[in-house]
Symmetry: none
Subunit: 125 residues, 2 copies
Amino acid sequence: MPMFNVDSRSPTPIYAQLDRSIRAAIATGQLEPGAQLPTVRQLAVDLSVNANTVGRVYAQLERDGILETRRGVGTFVRESPSPHATLAHRERELRALIQHFVGDAALLGFTLAELITQLRNEEKK
Amino acid sequence: MPMFNVDSRSPTPIYAQLDRSIRAAIATGQLEPGAQLPTVRQLAVDLSVNANTVGRVYAQLERDGILETRRGVGTFVRESPSPHATLAHRERELRALIQHFVGDAALLGFTLAELITQLRNEEKK
DNA sequence: CTGCTTGTACTATAACATTAGTACAGTACG
DNA sequence: CGTACTGTACTAATGTTATAGTACAAGCAG
């Protein structure tokens, strides 16, 4: 059972799915700071995708300060996550995130109050 | 405020976002059977998207039996109710939505409690 | 050093997504 | 009838995504 999950049939590009998957694994603690990720070639085999695609995701995540790569050694989770983000930048991102979230949920017919209730539920896990 | 929501910056193709958006609107009853959708040209203008892209989505949804198009008249929601409109399906979608939201926000260093606070702010607008 | 692993870079190719523009076909209405 | 609307069908051009294959660069162990 691979740690990450991508679906080649999804209209969302593989690189975007993998990027999100890795970020989520770190955010949820499945991947702790310092932990080593699979090698680009190994993960490519596991997910049945091209090694270039995996490599580009790793490279992008390093540019974003999420991962740290050491040639000949491997790719690891950075100790200090998101060191680049100022408070203003983070709040702008959060605002966009909320906009998207509320909009999508509204399309499913859920009100803001229901979202808050559901999030409170999540809080207790 | 347009009925559908697409984001040209998202890695997910526009046609896929629009497809999902229309299906959701039907599933939640925002678009009832028999209701007319915007014309391909009008919706293209509203969403700042090419008319071909809209037209292809309509055509695909007709092939799937979701919509019915009449040349020179317009595009309408089919009378046959969608089987995806169940409560269980919507809640599964919401759960996935929340997972993404919380994960992304966690990467920005925001806790669940902060998210709830921010959403409450949104509620007062 | 050699040999093996790692990430990285590059080519080339194919498929897909999106756009602009134009044109055609069916329907409604005066 | 003519006109204005509808969806549909093309072309051409551009950018993105994913693939295979090859090669190079950096670290580590023997």
